[in-house]
Amino acid sequence: MKDNGYISKRKFMEELSRYRKGSVSRRHFLGVTGLGTATLVLGTAVPGLRPRPARADSHIGDRVVLATWPNYHDTANFDMFTDATGAFVQVNVFGSNEEMLAKLQAGGSGWDVFVPTNYTITTYVSEDLIEPLDVSKLQSYDAKAFEPRFSDAGTVDGTLYAVPKNWGTTGFAVNTAHDGGKALTSWKDFFDRTTDDFSGRTMVHDYQLTTIGNALKYFGYSFNSVNEAELAEAERLLIEVKPHLFAISSDYQPAMRSGDAWLTMCWTGDGKQLNSDIPEIEYVLGREGGEIWSDYYAIPKGAPHREAAYALINHMLDPQVNAREVQAHGYPVADANTNALLPEEILNDPILYPAQELLDALEFGAAATLTDPNRAELLARFKSA
């Protein structure tokens, strides 16, 4: 393996995207970026990565199944995990927390690790679907290094069930080449312009929390409202814009990239990824507010490869690994140890870290929205309307 010494961040990201698109081999990628060498060095320096041949095969098994969100990982980190432990990371991608909950409720999901959002964890605990975490198996997890508002939802009644992955916001991404010089700044703009100059080009999430929540923000109601009259107004708005939508899907990057869609509800990292590759796609937080969230790693009850689950979470929380994750997917972390390794330009990126007055208007999702029958039925009705 040839070590080229220095590699610029830009070049690294280019190589990474070439690797992810499959244009170059993993060997080329590791060689040209120096990651191969880094892996070798890390492999001996980081306890969690030290090869444990006897353990690797006998203990953690040959695979670990991860249920997560779209565009949310650096696959090179999974490869590193596989190299170090012998366990292959099988990734299942979901579009909403409801979908995850439904799978776990039905049983037999086969997952070892899943990535629930802050507001769902109490429900998983009360439904007895989530495993309490044994911190002694998570040496990389330094609880004190995390900002409490992004980590405290992982603890329910004094028991730790989940450790923070990333946090972020839910805004929208807009292709400014098509906005006719009139910038979109609010959820009111988002829905009004969808019926106007963005007709047939807008996407909304296939997700009750954000699609209903942002429609509620249009009227200035709480993102988390379960008030029937307010929900009825949100539903009228959604039904009215439906004929103007391009699609209802949480996987909106392909359509935004191909130019089929111009406007979409969007999470921080997708906004960052789109904006890095196509600068005219901008990430906007609605002036009225919207969602701020924190995702967690957790282990479902009955995980078939529990040891591998702990090993994977431990690997992902390693600040070195986590820092590469952030650089690949563009979602901020609340971990001071990881942030210490990140370049200044990421820590000052307005997409990852929006202005305070925009952040102040945001709300964390509320547990009630997950179980509220009216919100669930509203979204299902909207989709089949």
Partner: protein, 283 residues
């Protein structure tokens, strides 16, 4: 062992299969459809007609299914018939096997992947871009009912081709000669001899495709962009997102009833068309 005991023994495996795989699940669906959604989703026992009263909320999904399933079936039949005719009647026997295999080849890949490919073909950089080059602008294909229809025809075509092929292949060629000898023009021979004798294949193909289409969810989910909903999509949503098993069961049971009625009427009609020629049955 008496004769009737032996008969029972022979029937037992099939009967057990029916009870376990058909009667039990259907009973569960039926019972659940009178229940209620649990506090965090799922099902709690109850006796209420509320779920059935809520059915109009899925009217569009039923409407889409009831329109696109028959339209897709008929379109697939119209495309499959000439193909099957060519294969069965006109093709040199030594090519038949190869051509038949070519019809099956798409089945070697998952329908998921084949439908996914259509996302790119129908997307803005696919067919619409080609049409733009010849001056037809602003064509929107992906995530429309038309895209779903194309996906359906593409996906189900082989299922339609085979039954029609078999009925045309078995057709006694001497009848065609006799018809020609008696002075019938090719068109008349086709209409009065070939077509009526191939009706059983057409009927079987239509039934196969129609029944599967009524429960379809994958193609609308991929090519309808979450906007063109079939009952199947509404069901997936109710069980896998909003977790309303009770309402989901009511929707599922209603779909089963609609299917039973449609298929019964269809079989009656076919049987009437066949009357006078009881040597051929439809299945």
């Amino acid at each position: 062992m008496t004769r009737s005991e032996r008969n029972w023994l022979l029937v037992a495996p099939a009967a057990a299969w029916f009870v376990v795989m058909l009667v039990l699940p259907l009973s569960v669906i039926f019972v659940f459809s009178f229940g209620e959604r649990g506090p965090a989703g799922g099902y709690v026992p109850a006796f209420t007609l509320e779920q059935y009263a809520n059915l109009p909320a899925r009217f569009t999904a039923f409407k889409n299914t009831m329109i696109l399933a028959p339209v897709g079936t008929i379109a697939a039949m119209l495309i499959a018939y000439p193909l099957a005719y060519q294969l069965a009647v006109r093709t040199d026997p030594k090519w038949k096997t190869i051509l038949l295999v070519l019809v099956i080849v798409p089945f070697w890949t998952s329908i998921l992947i084949r439908s996914y490919a259509w996302i790119f073909i129908l997307g803005g950089r696919g067919l619409p871009a080609l049409l733009e080059m010849v001056g037809i602008e602003g064509v929107r294909l992906i995530y429309t009912p038309f895209a779903v229809l194309i996906g359906i025809i593409y996906g189900y075509l082989p299922l339609m081709v085979f039954p029609i092929y078999v009925s045309l292949d078995r057709l006694d060629k001497r009848l065609l000669e006799a018809s020609a000898d008696l002075g019938a023009k090719p068109l008349r021979t086709f209409l009065t001899v070939t077509l009526p004798l191939s009706i059983p294949g057409v009927a079987t193909g239509c039934m196969l495709v129609f029944i599967l289409l009524m429960g379809e969810f994958l193609i609308p989910a991929l090519l309808g962009g979450g906007k063109v909903f079939f009952v199947g999509n509404a069901l997936v949503d109710l069980f896998l997102q909003s977790r309303n098993w009770a309402f989901g069961s009511a929707v599922a049971f209603t779909l089963i009833v609609i299917m039973l009625v449609t298929v019964t009427v269809y079989m009656r009609v076919i049987a009437r068309l066949q009357s006078g020629r009881d040597d051929v049955s439809i299945m």
